[in-house]
Structures are given as structure tokens and as C-alpha cells.
Amino acid sequence: MVVCVLIPRFQLTVAVGDREELLGSPAALAPEPGREARIGEVSLAAEAFGVRAGMPLGEALSRCPQLTLVPPDPAGVADAWERLLVRLESIGAAVAPERPGLASFAAQGLVRLHGGTLERVLAAARTALRHPARIGAGPSRFCALAAATRARARRPQIVLGDERAARDYLAPLPVALLRGRDETAALPEALARLGVETLGELAALPRSDVADRFGAPGLLARELAQGRDGSLRPREAPERLEEELELPEALSGAQLDRALGLLVDRLLARHERRGRTLRAVVLAATLVEGGTWREQVPFREALSDPTRMRLALAPRLALLPAPAERLRLAVVRFGPAASDQRSLLDEAAAERRERLREGVRQARAAAGPDAALRVLAVDPDSRVPERRAVLTPFE
């Protein structure tokens, strides 16, 4: 049995902060600076005007001219979401976060811990959250999500049974529920145009027809509608390590780089790191104009060298949409412990080859399979020059 916790408009609620009256009026999250001009989550009042999350900004404003755009607060959302996940984990749940405001966990192992019934597990989750949430439970992730969307704030919805029960439960529900999954979010409009209004109608369509028309997302949607879904992937127990720096004035250029350098040095000096390398970090800033900015930076290889970390992070600072008053650097994933062991034998050539291979892999990842090629002599003695050699993949 999967339990789904859904907090509608979570990102908008966090971004609005104390100005809660905005949630009662047409409001939407403004597009993030430097990203595609599409709005984020929208308030109920905005939905009444036909405005939906993910809609192009121009279309949203033409549908609802009085729409208030709220600056996004990705760093605040990440913090608030992390706090809620930790609270959920405090009841013993292995939580699989889907996106801010939506998380699932398996209930099987928790039933005996919390009094022997599913209802008690759900009650424990609600108490731990200390935040209004809709909770649903069902045999599959998607079924639990559907149940959560139909649940009331204080009354969870539970679908008991197996795959068939999930299918029966989902059958009368609208295909718009598929928007809850990133992979199938684009399908509901196309399905509605074809007259497929409910998940039951989608589940009854021949598999080959769905594959022809919608490809892999269509097949996934059909599976979901039939009560089947992938397994949960709970996150690993998080380890919080971060450094923050308040900037005395709006810094830019070399000064901002120096502030970043200081953050990197401080982070690497923390004893909680225990000599481990860093595989991914989050660079976040609180902007002077309000709102926040957040950028996750995965390193190409796990690092513990401050110079290389600065080299990788400095270009991201150029993406800051406005002057920052606070800069923060947090570890997302650790790598293996840093070691600089010398090999017993001199393996310089093997090391060079390995570095070359790694370089080729990175070039291909960035620019496609033709990024690294080598010259292959096909007919070197040919009198026709273009027959002598061709370019072929490096390895």
C-alpha cells in the first residue's frame, strides 16, 4: 500500500509568504529568471480564469489581465520542503519525494509501528507534518496520488485492494490527473481533443493505438490508468551541510567571486565532511529585490579541490538575475573520500589514457556522439584524396 501526501500549491504558498491574501486573488508564480517564460503554480482564483501552471506567460495574462505574478522562491521552497520531508521521515517512513508538495511512501512496514492499522499510519503522518495536507493511499503510486487529490484536508481517501481495485477506482476519474506526473503531464489536452475524457476510457484503448499516437508517455499513461505503476524510490537519508554568507552590499564581479571562494573554503573546512569529496552542490542567493535564486551544480567528477570548485561555480554567479544580499552553498551529494594515493607502478600512460577516455565521454555527453572522432586510414595509397581516410568514433 502506497501513501501519497499532497500539498496543493506548495511552491506558491511558500513564495507568497506573509501575503496570504494573494492566495485568494488571481495569482501565479512568475517564470524563473533565465528560464522559459511559463508561469508556475497558480491560485484557485486564477484557475477560475482558465490559467494553469506551465502556461506561457503571455497567454496567462491575456486570459486574466489582473493576474498577480509572485516572484519565485526556489531556495525557500527547497528549505520548507526539506523540513516537511524530515518530519515525514520521523515516523519511520522511507519517503520518495516526487516534487515540492508531493511525496509518497510505502505503508507496509509502518502499520505495526503505529498501532496496527493504516488509518493510524496516516494519522501519524498528518501529526508529524504539522501542515495541512491531502493524504491518499492506494495499491499504486498513481492511484494513491489520485486518492490524495480527491481527499479532504482532514479526511484521507483510501483505496483498498489490488491492481484491479486501483483500475476500478481510477476508471471514472478525469485524464487531467495525468498532469500529476512529469512524464505524462502533456497528455491530458491531447487526450481530451480525441474525446478520451476518463482514465477508464484510456485504459480500454488498444496498446498499439496508444503507442502509435503518443509513444512512450502514452504507454505509461495507459499503464497508470490500468492501476499499474513503477516502484517507489525512497531518497537516501539526507545529510545537511551548508554555509551561508551575508553580503554587506550588492556585490558583483570579482568581489562576488571572492565571496564564493570564502564559502567554498568554509564548506570544505567543515569537519562533518570527514574528508569526503563533493559530487553536487546547490548555490542559492537571496535577492535584494525579494525572491530567491537557486541553481544545482553537479560536478563532472567528485571534487574536494577548492580551486576547481570555484572554477565550476563562478560561471553560475553570472546567472544571478539581480544583486544578492545573501549567498549560500549547500552540499547535495557527497562523493567518495578524497584520496591521493600513488600507485605502486608507474602507470602514467594508463592514467593519460583514462583521462583521455573521460574527456571523450564528457565531450560526447555535451556535444553528441560526433564530438570526438579519429582519423581512420581506409585506403591511404588511393590516388583519389577523399578515399584515403574517414573520421570514425574515437573508440
Binding site: D370, L373, V375, V378, R383, V384, P385, E386, R387, R388, A389, V390, L391, T392
Partner: protein, 96 residues
């Protein structure tokens, strides 16, 4: 790859191989002497000297024979250029 291949020269047919072929002929603007065919002007550059000329005839037994008169010339800017005249289908190409 800019320009088209001349005279079916490569004999390598797959698209990927064509895309990755080295030294593929590129069309050139050449003005030649009408008497002996010697290039006088290559891509707007005057030819200072002809270093060498040779004839390539190949695949005469097939349906796509190849017949080219190659010229290695030095232009007035000092550049060494190899051009050829496609004797079957016409047109000038450079190949270096």
C-alpha cells in the same frame, strides 16, 4: 559539408561515412586558360605559378567513372592550392 562531391569520387556510400569523409572536394571558382586548361584565377586569387599537374582516371570499368585533371598551384598570396577540373561532368573543385 559545403558544396557537392564531384564525380562520385569517394565510392563510400553511407550517409554517415559521407559526413565523416576527409578531404572531400569543395566547389571552387576557377578561371582557366582556354588553350591548355591551366588555372589563372582560383577563388578570386590570381595564380602565380603552377607547381604540378596530373591526370587521374579511375573506375573506367564502372558506370560511374572518374576523370579529373589536377593542378597544384601557388596563388599570389603565397597559398598552395590543389584544384581539379572534373572532365566528365565539368566544374572545378578544390581539395586541400
Amino acid at each position: 559539408m559545403r558544396g557537392r562531391s564531384a564525380g562520385g569520387g569517394a565510392g563510400l556510400t553511407s550517409a554517415a561515412v559521407r559526413r565523416h569523409r576527409l578531404a572531400a572536394p569543395r566547389r571552387a571558382r576557377v578561371r582557366a586558360d582556354e588553350r591548355d586548361g591551366r588555372p589563372l584565377l582560383v577563388d578570386g586569387r590570381e595564380v602565380d605559378a603552377v607547381r604540378e599537374s596530373w591526370l587521374v582516371e579511375d573506375r573506367w570499368w564502372s558506370e560511374r567513372p572518374l576523370r579529373r585533371r589536377y593542378w597544384e598551384v601557388v596563388t599570389t598570396c603565397g597559398r598552395n592550392v590543389v584544384v581539379f577540373h572534373d572532365l566528365r561532368e565539368g566544374g572545378w573543385f578544390r581539395q586541400r
